[in-house]
């Protein structure tokens, strides 16, 4: 199988100054060499095939962004090897940038005051996309999503959803073999989320683009990814099919009960071991329950479960 990205034993350390308190401490910090090392990514190896959509998950601060920054050539790994499209991203940042698209953390990369179509034209020139390919891409966009209402609108006047949509379209414009999407659906309403998911799926299918998707939204993962990779505290703890993961979070649910004194009690229930109704009945014998809620387990909790259970992939 062809690989788009290969990571071998990649580590990334940050050196952070140990800060001391108070004015005296600040002065001491000025001259201090007292650094503490934080390992953001620890020995991660990964192979991503062409055309795959990978869900890259993990709690905040797990090292997702750091990994992506290394793959895009913004950060240099402390040790280990990364190849993206056969290039070492950090050494050839500009060349690497030609063959990737990035939508990063809800920060628009488009020209704020320009209408979208002008941004597209500038990107066409910057990436030296032939006019024919450019027009074909616009045609493809038209077939997948209604772009007319946003095409002549300045980015600063767009809603969050329109802006995200624009950024995704801009990331695919030069038809890169790999696109990185960092939380593309955060803060969007249901219908916009849906639109964006089907756009990503459509572009992946039409152009065989490899997509690395980081998200906290299990809906994104369900709609788009076959394979997911989870990291926590910098370590890869899960790398397998989504079906495999579903067996974890499918059997767990969070039960919330509002008691007589209006406080909420939360309990994580493993449905393979105990029944939700039994738990409620048992509780009701002790005290009155005014209200109940049943929640599907969140990504964070699945990850926690997997982490506690060790690497079972």
């Amino acid at each position: 199988m062809e690989n788009a990205i290969v990571m071998k034993n990649v580590c990334k350390e940050f050196k952070i100054l140990n800060r001391h308190e108070g004015l005296k401490g600040s002065i001491r910090d000025l001259f201090s060499r007292d650094y503490k090392t934080i390992e953001a990514v620890k020995d991660v190896s990964l192979e991503i095939a062409r055309g795959e959509i990978i869900g890259y998950l993990g709690p905040n601060g797990a090292g997702k962004s750091t990994t992506i920054k290394m793959m895009t050539g913004v950060l240099e790994p402390t040790s280990g090897e990364i190849l993206v499209n056969g290039l070492v991203p950090y050494k050839e940042r500009k060349k690497n940038s030609e063959h990737i698209g990035v939508v990063f953390g809800q920060r628009s990369q488009l020209w704020w005051s320009l209408p979208l179509i002008e941004s597209f034209k500038l990107l066409r020139d910057i990436y030296m996309v032939p006019q024919k390919d450019y027009e074909e891409m616009l045609e493809l966009y038209r077939s997948l999503v209604d772009i007319e209402p946003i095409l002549h609108k300045p980015v600063r006047q767009m809603s969050l959803g329109q802006r995200t949509l624009s950024d995704i379209l801009a990331a695919f414009l030069h038809n890169p073999p790999i696109v990185f999407l960092d939380e593309p659906t955060i803060g969007l309403d249901v219908s916009m989320k849906d639109k964006i998911r089907s756009l990503i799926a459509g572009l992946n299918e039409q152009k065989n683009t490899t997509v690395i998707l980081t998200t906290h939204d299990m809906g994104d993962v369900d709609a788009l990814c076959k394979r997911i990779v989870i990291i926590d505290e910098g370590k890869k703890i899960y790398d397998n099919d989504i079906e495999h993961l579903k067996s974890y979070f499918g059997s767990y649910r969070t039960l919330r009960m509002r008691l007589a004194d209006d406080t909420w009690e939360e309990r994580l229930i493993d449905e393979s071991r105990e029944d939700v109704m039994d738990v409620i009945m048992k509780k009701q014998k002790e005290q009155k329950i005014k209200d109940i809620q049943l929640q599907e387990i969140s990504t964070e909790e699945v990850i926690k479960k997997i982490y506690e259970g060790g690497n079972r992939s």
Binding site: K94, S108, L114
Partner: protein, 278 residues
């Protein structure tokens, strides 16, 4: 299995000066178009710039009505220096004004977007802002310079014009370099705003002949923070007919060198910065 396939590099033209010039022009045209659509903003900021220059100019006039000569520099020579410095400060104002936003973008993490395009990060960052206010300053500077020029009675020859253009460019390179270096400190320190403000204030010293400074300050403004090169030394190439100091002749090379170093320092900051936060 662990092989990573390489993309076929089709024969693309290299991104050279012509490419960057054309991209800059396109961004500029679009930017001006959208600025025109915010007419009130445009008018107010232009008026603001004229007022700022005017008040500086009036202060200057009052000063020189009272001290007719400073260290052998008479009123018109001083005016020449003043106009010269205004013109030399135009490029930094027009083309490199985004340096003022650098620290905010770096601290908020927004800066990372400049690292995802297959073009030079420094170019991409600076190309985003063209400050129209600089044009008002330019017009003011040209007016002052021409007035002083005529009153001093400098002959207009092709050689003088070549010298004027060359040394104006030289002078502006120094100011650009100072601001680049000052802005780039934000990659290492949090209080870089103060560094920028101090450096920007220093430019006011450019309007005075550096031979009025003595000792430590003269050395400081010549070799450490080369404010003396923003107007004084380059302008001597026009004002003096025979005894032009060596430093004036060295200025173009020094300007290029200083600009190059400041650019390298700026890019080093980009490379070394950790981009923490998502």
């Amino acid at each position: 299995m662990s092989e990573c396939t390489t993309i076929n590099e089709s024969k693309r033209p290299r991104r050279g000066l012509r490419f960057y010039a054309s991209i800059y022009r396109k961004i500029l045209v679009q930017d001006l178009k959208s600025k025109m659509s915010y007419r009130a903003d445009f008018v107010i900021s232009t008026i603001g710039m004229i007022m700022t220059n005017l008040s500086g100019f009036v202060t200057f006039l009052i000063l020189f009505k009272n001290f007719p000569s400073i260290n052998g520099w008479d009123y018109h020579h001083m005016l020449f220096l003043y106009g010269f410095s205004l013109i030399a400060l135009t490029p930094v104002q027009c083309f490199f004004d985004n340096n003022w936003n650098l620290r905010f973008q770096v601290q908020s993490g927004d800066f990372i977007k400049y690292c995802f395009r297959p073009i030079n990060v420094f170019f991409y960052f600076m190309s985003e802002v063209f400050d129209v206010k600089g044009l008002g300053q330019l017009a003011f500077g040209i007016g002052t310079l021409v007035y002083a020029w005529v009153n001093i009675g400098i002959p207009v020859t092709p050689w003088v014009i070549v010298k004027l253009v060359l040394f104006l460019l030289t002078a502006s390179l120094f100011m650009i370099a100072i601001m680049n270096a000052a802005a780039a400190t934000c990659f290492w320190i949090i209080g870089s705003g103060y560094v920028m403000v101090i450096m920007f204030r220093f430019k006011d010293f450019a309007k005075y002949p550096s031979n009025i400074f003595h000792g430590v300050f003269r050395i400081l403004f010549t070799f450490v923070i080369p404010i003396a090169f923003v107007a004084y030394y380059p302008s001597l190439a026009i004002l003096e007919s025979d005894n032009i100091p060596v430093l004036t002749w060295c200025a173009p090379a020094l300007g290029l060198l200083f600009f190059y170093l400041s650019y390298k320092f700026w890019m080093l900051g980009v490379k070394k910065y950790d981009f923490t936060g998502s």
